[in-house]
Symmetry: D2
Subunit: 80 residues, 4 copies
């Protein structure tokens, strides 16, 4: 009688993000995950990689043990 | 740098649910809310009313400070 | 960069609860778990057993991948 | 029948943290808040101030609409 979920403070794309339009991207992740909506977080390709930039999550969908997150990339790491 | 949300153990419809198909309903609520997916919870019309039945949340969408929950009504309160 | 946790809508004691004083009990569970504080939930000995009664969680401690919940038993199942 | 809480990706001390021992600090915040345990987060004095450093939350207590967080300061912002 419990629902497992994960609280995330960073978006790790593993290169699987899809551009929707402009700076908005969509990413599918396994399990139910909380990304703080309207709160800027780091985006990385892998957990250990450098920051790609900063994004603001704008939408979450939880269904079938999957999370679909939509986020807006608001700044790019200039060293990339 | 925080996201407010609410953990719910019951679905309170206020009569605003919409039937999608069969026993599946959709309900829009203000703010970001967690209803435990795949965990049976009570459905009531108001917080203080009798139970309408038991439902299993199957999908949550969080966007624009709104939660859209999809749930399947799995049993009806026979005393209703 | 994520913290796993579980949202619970019921207290399953497995007979491991300890009475602190009066109707207050303490229970240790593995992992980080949310029990809704100040919200009445069912208490059961096992997930499949009958309800023992209704409790109101009053305190949660998360540390070392363990949750300690304090709850007040507010009603007993009279059929027990 | 809901419990409000806040998901935090940063520790904002407002100068109210208390050193427990070594690099461990304790901080009391209003309301129920999730800080990701064992996940490094920024520490700031105010939401808008520069980073003081990086901390790892190790313990959370929720009671009486208050959160007490214990964290270990693992790196200091050298520009401070």
């Amino acid at each position: 009688m419990g629902m497992p979920l994960e609280v995330n403070t960073m978006i790790v794309t593993k290169g699987k993000e899809k551009r929707i339009e402009g700076n908005f991207f969509e990413l599918q992740k396994e399990g139910y995950r909380i990304y703080p909506i309207d709160v800027p977080v780091e985006v990385r390709t892998t957990k250990e990689s450098e920051t790609n930039g900063i994004a603001v999550p704008s939408k979450l969908i939880w269904e079938n043990n999957t999370t679909i997150i939509t986020y807006e990339l608001v700044s790019l790491n200039s060293s990339n």
